[in-house]
């Protein structure tokens, strides 16, 4: 399997050049993309130029970063200067950011080779990428199924091998759930661990950029590359970060893993339940202590999450009015112009969420919805704190089911929201979570396991995830078209 760490070795050993590697991934991409449609735009020329620079550095005998020259791709809500950032919306279809997100600045200093921008649910609102206004991304395991979302393009690209790694963003599970659906690793860092500057906001107090990769080692490598305090993001956690590759130790002997019973509720598919039971057995065999824990308020997490996320979204998306960037539908006066622009520029789910978000903040409803949600958020955070005083990690499914067919849920907004039940609590509490492959469903679709850790506990997460990955090679499967010949 072509991973960052394996390809890095080949680059350093001069078995392959970065340009050759980039060309190989591009030609593989050209084979799978007609079916997968993970990308919204390409930057092959730029990628090859960057790869050439990496080759020159190698030729000069310079040390290169682990990610240098390894082709990746970026979710289309992260700004790269002079490349489109559409958020998969007609609103921003022709928007070209005049600046780089902080993570892109960081990655550029580490020899970033980005093949393009990846599809997503419009403005990251959704869990299947069906809400993209610009492309339909399919699941590399089964083209009739959704790739998950909102970072569906990121997960599908990594799974199908059209990118070795990708950046996604996670507001309520948008990295972890598509990673689960596509059989790859997705890590949502602690809120504030990775800079949000340049990430086009959906819900600012919940959004976080993170890696989608082919294995846990790669997740640690990408996290290393994008973590750090950023003075441009007021919510960025100060101080130095640890080297996350130090956590890649296959040893969980002294770890206590909590299993929150509320995450194993009625809606859980039998295949998923079975995979989780097997995972628990694996950890037991590896010497971890498994304890059942209860997070009684987590059942309210979904409601609190939607109120907070939509309230923030209604304000974050107010700027798209046709005045200084993005779509403009001409009209005689300003109110009409903004209304027409927004009504034509936003898809139905985005409009629904803006209306709801506006409603819960409006006079007379603020206390009943928004303020209550903020209080429930505190209760949930307290409950996690309490749990992490007793256990090192929590284990749960990432999603109640494997990938589903197109059109199955998209017309029932509430059913769609209920899909996020296992992932949203981490965003409310600001804690890190990882989804790793944990088996296959009876109809041959990947199932993801979620591990949650305390704030800034990514090291523990990675250690437990790495141990599982080493112990269960049967779960490390590559999608049918995902093997890149390099």
């Amino acid at each position: 399997m072509a991973t960052i760490h394996e390809l890095h070795k080949r680059l350093v050993n001069k078995e392959i050049s970065a340009v050759e590697l980039t060309q190989a991934v591009i030609s593989h991409k050209e084979k799978v993309e007609p079916t997968v449609h993970a990308y919204l735009s390409d930057s092959h020329e730029r990628a090859l130029a960057s790869a050439k620079a990496v080759d020159e550095a190698i030729a000069k005998g310079e040390a290169i970063s682990p990610l240098a020259g390894i082709p990746g791709a970026v979710k289309d809500n992260i700004c790269i200067k002079d490349e489109p950032a559409t958020c998969a919306s007609k609103m921003l279809e022709h928007f070209i950011p005049p600046y780089n997100a902080s993570v892109i600045e960081q990655l550029n200093n580490q020899g970033l080779v980005s093949l393009g921008k990846l599809n997503m649910d419009e403005f990251a609102m959704g869990g299947s990428t069906e809400n993209s206004a610009l492309a339909k991304t399919t699941n590399p395991w089964n083209a009739d199924c959704v790739p998950g979302g909102s970072s569906g393009g990121s997960a599908a690209a990594v799974s199908s091998g059209s990118a070795i790694w990708a950046l996604g963003s996670d507001t309520g599970g948008s990295i972890r759930q598509p990673a689960s659906f596509c059989g790859v690793v997705g890590l949502k860092p602690t809120y504030g661990n990775v800079s949000r500057y340049g990430l086009i906001a959906f819900a600012s107090s919940l959004d976080q950029i993170g890696p989608i990769t082919r294995d846990v080692t790669d997740a640690a490598l990408v996290l290393n590359a994008i973590t750090g305090h950023d003075p441009k993001d007021s919510t960025s956690i100060p101080g130095a970060r640890v080297d996350y590759t130090q956590s890649l130790v296959a040893d969980v002997k002294n770890l206590k893993i909590g299993v929150p019973k509320e995450f194993f509720g009625e809606g859980l598919h039998g295949d998923v339940r079975k995979a989780m039971e097997e995972a628990i057995e694996t950890y037991k065999k590896l010497g971890a202590e498994i304890v059942e824990v209860s997070l009684p308020n987590s059942k309210y997490a979904l409601s609190a999450y939607y109120i907070i996320a939509l309230a923030e979204a209604s304000s974050n998306l107010a700027r798209y009015d046709g005045v200084s960037y993005g779509l403009r539908v001409p009209a005689d006066n300003l109110v009409e112009m903004a209304t027409k622009t927004r009504t034509e520029g936003f898809g139905p789910e985005v409009q629904r969420r803006i209306l709801l978000g506006t409603y819960v903040l409006s006079s007379g409803y603020y206390d009943a919805y928004y303020l209550k949600a903020l209080k429930v958020r505190r209760l949930i955070k307290n409950e996690f704190d309490e749990a992490f005083s007793k256990v090192d990690l929590l284990l749960s499914p990432t999603a109640p089911n494997a990938a589903y067919k197109f059109g199955e849920k998209v017309n029932d907004p509430l059913a769609m929201y209920l899909e996020d039940i296992c992932t949203v609590p981490a965003n409310l509490a600001g804690i890190p979570g990882i989804s790793i492959p944990a088996g296959m469903s009876s109809n041959n679709l990947p199932i993801g396991m979620q591990l949650l850790g305390p704030a800034m506990g990514e090291d523990v997460l990675l250690r437990a995830a790495f141990a599982f990955e080493q112990a269960r090679p049967d779960c490390q499967l590559v999608a049918p078209t995902g093997e890149v010949s390099i």
Binding site: F95, I237, S303, S324, G326, L327, Q351, Y359, Y369
Partner: protein
């Protein structure tokens, strides 16, 4: 929790979104369903609970009062749907 059509019209105006007459009852149902679901929060006793607006317990994040270069003027206007003499141009502000 049911949202009225009157309220939908109000929030549509505040959101600068048009809800077409033949669509308003669909919106009414969709929003009401979701609002009914989230009304489960009313079950909780939240008296004295401190609201949590941020996921990180940070405070006093400042920058020094230092001038930094602004965007190149052309770049600043590069995404403008309509520009005139270095300004962003918009249609009339007042509705007739």
């Amino acid at each position: 929790m049911k949202i009225s059509q009157e309220e939908i019209k109000k929030i549509a105006l505040l959101s600068r979104l048009e809800v077409k007459a033949d669509h308003i009852s669909t919106v009414e149902k969709e929003l009401s369903d979701i609002l009914s679901y989230v009304a489960e929060l009313n079950e909780l006793d939240l008296e004295g609970v401190e609201p949590m607006a941020h996921a990180v317990p940070l405070h006093n994040v400042f920058r020094e009062d230092e001038e930094k270069p602004s965007l190149d003027h052309k770049l600043a206007l590069s995404n403008a749907p309509e520009a005139e003499d270095g300004y962003f141009k918009v249609p009339r502000v007042v509705q007739e």
